[in-house]
Every structure is written in C-alpha cells, then in structure tokens.
Amino acid sequence: MSIPFGGYASPEQIMRDRAEYARKGIARGRSVVVMQYADGILFVAPNPSKALHKISEIYDRIGFAAVGRYNEFESLRLAGIRYADINGYTFNRNDVTGRGLANLYAQHLGMIFTESIKSFEVEIVVAEVGDSPEDDQIYRITFDGSVFDEQGMAVIGGQSDAVAGRLKERYSEGLPLPRALDAALSALTEPGGERPPATQLEVAVLDRGREHRKFLRLTGPRLEKLLEAAKESQEGARQPAGEQPGEASAGQAQAGQAPDTAPPTAPEGDIDTGSGE
C-alpha cells in the first residue's frame, strides 16, 4: 500500500483543482460557435483536420459540437449516437429528444467529475432543430455535468468569453445563413486577424427544411460559395454593429486583453467553476 501524498486536501480543494485542470485543457484549443439562423442551427469550428471532426450528427434533428480532448469527446459522441439510435429504434424516431441526450451527457460527465481522478477536458453542445425557431434548443454541457439552456447561440472552448462577446454584437434573431456564417466567422477571428479559408473550417447546419435527416455538413464548392456570400453580406452586417458603439467598444476591450498571438493557458474572467456557483 502506498500513499502518494502525505498532506490533507479538503474536498473543496480537490474539486477546485479538478475544475482548474479541466478548464485549462478546454481553453487550449480553438472556439466552436453554435447559433440559430433563419432556417435552423449553424455550427462553425476552425478545424484543419478533415478526419477528426468536432461537429457531428447524432440523430434526425440533433447535432453535436465539442471542444477539448478528442478521444474523450469522441467517446461521448459515439455514446450519444448509440443512445439516440437505440431509443429511436425501440420507440419512434421522434421520441429521441435533445433534452434526453443532454441529460445523459450531464449524468455521465457529472459522475466522471466527482468519481474519477481526472475529469473529462471537454465542453459540448447538443442542439436540436424544431419545426419553428421557437422550438429550437441549444444545450451547453460543461466538464462537470452542468447543463445550460442557451438562447440563440453558444460558444465553447478557447477564449469563449471574447468570442461570445464578439458574436453577441453581430447576432440577431432570424439571420439568413450567409449573414449568420459571417457573424460566426467574425466572432471566431481576432480583430485584425485573417479569416480561416474553407479548408481550415468545419461547417454544418441543422436545416429545418430538409427531409428525414436535418443535419448537413457543408464542404467543398458548397462551402466556398457560402463563404463568398458571407463576405458579400459583410458590409451589410457591419452597419448595425457600428450603430451600437457601447457594445462594440466593450468587445474590443475584451479582445484587447488577449493579444493576437498564442491563446492563453487558461481563460480569464468568470467561467463555471463546477461548484454550481
């Protein structure tokens, strides 16, 4: 029998350390944006890999986005697909809901956070597209199993606060797809930075208008065309952002804290500590 550590560590300390560890891991990567647009829900992730996806289809109406450690969120993704398929097969296809899936993830992540030595270094979004925009649901689930019912948009990973700040400036309800993509890309790009090209992007939508399976990955010429349209809509989109100088300057101040170089090892400002606040 070996005791690796002689001193006493309080449960609070242990939890804090775990949360700190997880948060550092999550902040290391790039952010992922999930937001509503006129016809559904848009997912955008800067991702140079064509094979290791951060965005995925779970079921007919449900999409999944994740940041953090690939092997960890991949196992969550596969479990979600199994859960959805087995429920849809046992009952009926529309008996599979985003809420049920978010609860499953929350249960599992919460259990791992309290019971394992190392918590998962992941943050995920489960989004479900409804028949109308009011029925759309976006759930953000953190490494400790907390579930947040997000309204309209969610940003996970990287410098999520700064990105969310920039996205809020440009976001409004019912944006057409090119405008929404433009807003997401502007938010993901540091001020003055260059936008990632199509090859460095992973983009997908849950399109309410599609039959059967709503999830559609946008790649190749289709994505390039959309990026072109997004660029054209840029001028139009800038205008309303300029009308709110208060918010815009707040966004710039936030971005000013973080230099354009390497991302910080941990996010600044308030982030969920895992202690339920």
């Binding site: 995925s56 779970i58 199994r82 059967h212 399976r213």
Partner: protein
C-alpha cells in the same frame, strides 16, 4: 437507477464495431427481431406481402411494389407499404411475412445510418448488400417455421454512377441482378412482363411505366398481388434513386402514370407488345 435498461451502462464503454445490430445483439438482444423457434409452424394466418419489381434506368434505379397483404385467401390490408427508403441512395422492398419484413426494414435503416454517423462515411454499395444478407440469414430459423421474409435491395452506386439491384433468398445472399428483377408471389408474371418491356438505358420516367406495367401483369395473374385501386385511389409505391438521391413519387404523380397505363390497357388489355423482329 435499478430500473434502467442494461444497455444504458454500455453506451459509453462499448468498443465493438460500428454495427448497430451487433451492439443490440450484445447488450439488448431482446430488441432484435425474434429468433426463437415456434411450437407450431405458422402458415397462412400471418399477413404476407407480395410483389416487388425493380429495374435499372439511365443513371439510377426504379423500385415499385403493390399495396396488398394477404392472409391465406383473405386480403388483410389494401394499402400496406413494402418499399422502404433505407438511406439517401438505397431502398429495399420486402416480400413474405409482413411483420418480420417491417421490423427488418426498420432495423436495417438504423444499421446503415448508425455506421454512417459513427464512421463519418457511408457504407459502400457492396457493404450495404452484404450487411442485409447477414441479417436475412439471421432469420433463417424463423423462415424454416414459416416466417419467410425475402428482400429486394436497390441502390444508386456513386462510384459507378449507375443503379444496382441485389436479390436474396432465405439463407442470405446477395445475388447481384442485372437490369431488372422481381420478388414475391407475383414475381414470375412480373418478370415475364419486365423481360419484354425493359429497355436498356431508358429514362427514369419510362422505367417507372415499365415497372407499373409489370406490377399490373402480376396482379392480373396472381391473386395475392393487388392492382392499382382506382376507386379508393390506392396506387403502387414507386421509388426512384438517382444521383440526386432517393425520391418516392408522390401519389398524384403515380396516379398520372397509372392513368396513362390504364388508358392504354383499355384498348389492349394485355398491355404493350414487344416487337417480334
């Protein structure tokens, strides 16, 4: 927690293949189609689905099925559907025991989708055909007891830019068929008709008409196959699969085809004739 199904514990830990039915077989075998032996073989009491025809066309494949299910000499359902979309580029038709066939089609659809979601790519056309063969073979003990179900599988193969047809027997398969094929009680009559009316490289529209003629001829000579029901407006199910994906023709469109066919049959009840020389 004690009441949760056993598969809930396996969602996150399963490390097997991307096959949905294998996952069910290991962790939830009760959800798989029945595979026990019956005390007494069942025969005609269980509804049977009848004729399915399929024919390749320019850049794709057409499948059509009549709407009748019979239990012995009774018509048990007039508007049953036996042609199912299995994914964007494939469909299957079933002949034999209706209940087993419906369940098989439902499971097979999830099977293809599950692979696609977990692996991030679709199965190859051969892969899809082989997978169906294994599932049919699994039903062999039930088939020996009278619950025979035999599918016909049709798919658009993107790697060849053409339609392909695969048939099966109770022991599995697949047997790839060239040009056209039919299964079910009226299949001999349908095949005779297809043999005379099939034109290589015909347009999808012409091939739909060919298939409808074949079904009509099957219904003409086989009591278990239903013809188009003009009074109740029940038309055959017709599916066309091309590079654009699976498309089930809406009832109004099928009605137009059927009416033009019936108009021709009024003057020539045996249908169009093939040139002798």
């Amino acid at each position: 927690m004690a009441s949760q199904p056993a598969w809930m514990n396996s969602l996150f830990t399963y490390t097997g293949s991307s096959s949905f039915s294998e996952f069910l077989g290991v962790h939830a075998p009760n959800l798989l189609p029945r595979n026990e032996s019956l005390a007494v073989p069942v025969g005609d009491e269980i509804p049977h689905a009848t004729t399915i025809v399929a024919a390749t066309c320019a850049g794709g494949v057409v499948m059509a099925g009549d709407r009748r299910a019979t239990s012995g000499n009774i018509i048990s359902q007039r508007d049953i559907e036996k042609v199912f979309r299995t994914d964007d580029y494939s469909c299957m038709g079933i002949a034999g025991t209706a209940s087993t066939g419906l369940e098989l089609a439902r499971l097979y659809r999830v099977e293809l989708e599950h692979y696609e979601k977990t692996e991030g790519r679709s199965l190859s056309t051969e892969g899809k055909a082989h997978r169906l063969a294994t599932m049919i073979r699994g039903n062999l003990p039930m088939a020996m007891q009278g619950l025979v179900v035999v599918p016909l599988f049709a798919a658009y193969d993107p790697s060849r830019d053409s339609g392909r047809i695969f048939s099966y027997d109770v022991g599995g398969g697949p047997y790839e068929q060239q040009e056209f094929h039919s299964i079910g009680s009226g299949s001999i009559f349908a095949r005779g008709s297809l043999k005379k009316l099939y034109r290589e490289g015909a347009s999808p529209q012409d091939t739909v008409l060919t298939c409808l003629h074949a079904l009509y001829d099957a219904a003409d000579d086989d009591s278990a196959t239903g013809g188009p029901d003009v009074m109740r407006k029940i038309w055959p199910v017709v599916a066309v699969i091309t590079a654009d994906g699976f498309r089930r023709l809406p009832d109004e469109e099928v009605a137009e085809y059927v009416e033009s066919m019936l108009a021709g049959r009024k003057t020539a009840p045996e249908g169009p004739t093939a040139p002798l020389r």
